[in-house]
């Protein structure tokens, strides 16, 4: 009877141990699923966005190559946001909201910013058109004017020479 009872105790102890181990594994699995991190965004992924941004502190230096502490913090912020699943547009919008539109390498196409996109091509086209027209007036009429001028210049000189020659001949006669 004692032997039987002891066996039951062993079985119960084993079952408890098994249940404990199972609970521990479950807990580990559960905690693993809660704290599991996504893959850390690489430098290339961070720099793909960073190169489209400029820190106002270091003008004319894109964020991806800017060596200052402020820029390093910004790149880390981009890495964190990428890790949290933010899209490129969301990250850029965050930077615009917090630091102003001047952080963008390309000004947003809205309002007065359109001038940046429209004015230079218009000026280049206008300039090219004016140059084209000017060159036409320089070549054709200039040639005509030059020919006309040549005739005008030669005629009186020639006439004068002939007249003088004739006068000299007359004198000799």
């Amino acid at each position: 009877m004692n032997k039987y009872r002891r066996s039951i105790l062993y079985v119960l102890a084993f079952a408890l141990l098994l249940a404990g181990a199972f609970a521990f594994v479950q807990d580990r699995i559960a905690s693993g699923s809660v704290y599991a991190q996504g893959p850390t965004p690489t430098d290339d992924q961070v720099n793909a966005i960073a190169k489209q941004l400029y820190c106002p502190v270091c003008e004319n230096t894109p964020l991806d190559v800017c060596p200052t502490e402020a820029c390093r913090q910004w790149r880390e912020l981009i890495r964190t946001q990428l890790g949290q699943g933010w899209t490129e547009d969301q990250i850029k919008q965050y930077f615009v909201d917090n630091y102003g539109a001047r952080v963008l390498s390309e000004p947003p196409r809205q309002g007065l910013n359109w001038l940046v996109y429209i004015l230079p091509p218009m000026l280049i086209l206008g300039g090219a058109f004016m140059l084209f027209r000017a060159m036409r007036t320089w070549t054709k009429p200039v040639k005509a004017t030059a020919d006309a001028g040549k005739e005008d210049e030669e005629k009186p000189a020639q006439d004068e020479y002939v007249a003088r020659l004739e006068e000299e001949l007359r004198k000799q006669k």
Partner: protein, 190 residues
């Protein structure tokens, strides 16, 4: 005028186009001149009335429980506006002194200290604020609007605004002692 000259002038750019081009060029030149002039002016000068602005505040650094603060709401008080950033080493030289000055004048209710965090990230800013035990109202200079209003040239810069909202003193660079800060505040207290 010969016939050829007449033909050339007919082919030339119409007068109204020439006028338009000159007007546009003159406009661009004026724009460039105004911009350059503004840049050369430096920061706002003592005696200037400071335009109203709103500073959004970091959670935990509110002013009288409010999440944002408007300059016009502080009429009747001396305002000490300090621009700083966590990446700015010279700012660290005066951070403790600013806090000490706040502890000295804050309880009187006549002086308000405001920290405007320039081009910074919030986690780094919070580390900085905790490191120096700063307790006065602080918040990010969103879209750098306030610093542009003051035509700020770098951090740190501190502006002392009197009870009527008129700028009375500008400190470019860090303060070296609490006494220096106190001297400027004392001048403005009624």
């Amino acid at each position: 005028m010969t016939e050829t000259d007449k033909t050339a002038s007919k082919r030339g750019v119409p007068l109204w186009v020439q006028v338009a081009i000159w007007v546009v060029l003159a406009g661009l030149l004026i724009l460039v001149a105004v911009t350059l002039n503004k840049r050369q002016q430096g920061t706002v000068q003592p005696g200037d009335q400071i335009p109203d602005f709103t500073l959004k505040l970091y959670s935990g650094y509110e002013y009288e429980g409010k999440g944002e603060i408007k300059l016009s709401d502080l009429r009747g008080k001396v305002v000490v506006l300090n621009f700083w950033a966590s990446w700015c080493k010279p700012c660290e030289q005066e951070a403790a002194e600013m806090q000490q000055a706040w502890e000295k004048y804050g309880p009187t209710g006549n002086v308000v200290f405001l920290g405007a965090d320039y081009v910074d990230t919030e986690p780094e800013a919070r580390i900085y604020l905790q490191k120096f035990g700063i307790t006065y109202a602080n918040g990010p200079d969103m879209a750098t609007k306030i610093s542009q209003l003051f035509r700020m040239q770098g951090v740190p810069e501190t502006y002392f605004i009197d009870t009527d909202g008129v700028l009375q003193y500008v400190m470019i660079g860090p303060f070296s002692s609490v006494d220096d800060i106190s001297t400027q505040i004392e001048k403005l207290l009624p």
